[in-house]
């Protein structure tokens, strides 16, 4: 499909996203699509923005953590590529969260100028993978704990979409560590 044959704005948006590298999920696209329903739906907006900001802060830290891992010199290809890919996902999550916060009238938190990571304990590729897996496991739980709190169910859906992505990260990292990729039938 070319831009010349686009018939609807939705088609144009899908094409733009597919070509811009923003391979966002349907729920995330809905967040960015500017639907009036999103901003107008009932629910405590300040509470929702509070939840989104906590998630955004964690995503920004995850981006920084993957940067530390990528620059550590400890990751070999293809694990390095995997880490960079996952970091890219977190960047997309952060972008969607920040835009949604702004759309709801809130102020998105900014990345910290400095993060603390246990770099002294990262001495091998496995150490980096284990550290990243821990962050991803925590992220899964954090989103799971946030999903039921949103006043706006569209936001719950979007958070669940991110949760699914981070659960896949966690599983792949566990697999790379030689652990059972999916340790149980449920996450908590």
């Amino acid at each position: 499909m070319s831009f010349l044959s686009i018939r609807t704005p939705a088609q144009a948006r899908r094409l733009f996203l597919s070509r811009s590298g923003l391979a966002l999920s349907g729920a995330a696209v809905a967040l960015l699509a500017g639907r009036d329903a999103l901003a107008a739906k009932s629910g405590d907006k300040s509470s929702d923005t509070n939840i989104l900001n906590t998630a955004l802060a964690a995503e920004l830290e995850a981006i920084a953590a993957y940067q530390v891992g990528a620059e550590s010199g400890l990751l070999q290809k293809p694990v390095l590529d995997l880490a960079v890919t996952f970091q890219g996902h977190h960047k997309q999550h952060a972008e969607v969260l920040a835009k949604t916060i702004q759309k709801l009238g809130g102020k998105a938190v900014a990345a910290k100028s400095k993060y603390t990571f246990p770099v002294e304990k990262l001495k091998s590729q496995a150490d980096v993978l284990r550290f990243a897996a821990g962050l991803e496991q925590g992220a899964v739980s954090a989103y799971l704990g946030a999903v039921p709190l949103f006043g706006n169910r569209d936001l719950s859906k979007a958070a669940a979409s991110i949760l699914g992505d981070e659960a896949m990260h966690w599983a792949v990292l566990r697999q790379a560590l030689g652990e059972a990729p999916v340790p149980s039938a449920f996450v908590s």
Binding site: T54, E61, S141, L149
Partner: protein, 114 residues
């Protein structure tokens, strides 16, 4: 009578708390917390006996700063059950750990982790 039974149940749960299981449960906290340093949430070392909102250099929600909570087994148990309900406005926007035994395990781990 109900109050006595509830107290006995709570004491029983606390007595049976397993810090090893609590360590596993602490995995749920790792998106935002660490034992020894501040992240999205404040560090957990030094938690017991600490007044909520008092770690120097960490930016808390106003709600947490105003809460006047001093962290101990009882206040942690109440908070962890449902943080937004216990401290409305907290930045810990997490539905909580609804299972009393899991909370007891988690608290037992936090008590001996640092």
């Amino acid at each position: 009578m109900i109050s006595v039974a509830a107290t006995l149940l709570a004491v029983g749960i606390a007595a049976a708390a397993d810090p090893e299981k609590g360590k596993e449960i602490y995995g749920r906290c790792l998106a935002c917390h660490a034992l020894e340093y501040d992240r999205v949430g404040p560090r957990h070392c030094g938690l017991f006996g600490r007044r909520a909102g008092s770690v120097k250099g960490f930016t808390y929600s106003e709600a947490m700063q105003r809460s006047k909570i001093v962290w101990n087994e009882k206040t942690l148990d109440r908070f962890l059950a449902n943080p937004p309900k216990a401290v409305p406005g907290t930045a810990m926007t997490y539905a909580g750990v609804p299972d009393a035994k899991e909370r007891a395990d988690l608290i037992a781990y936090l008590k001996q982790a640092c």
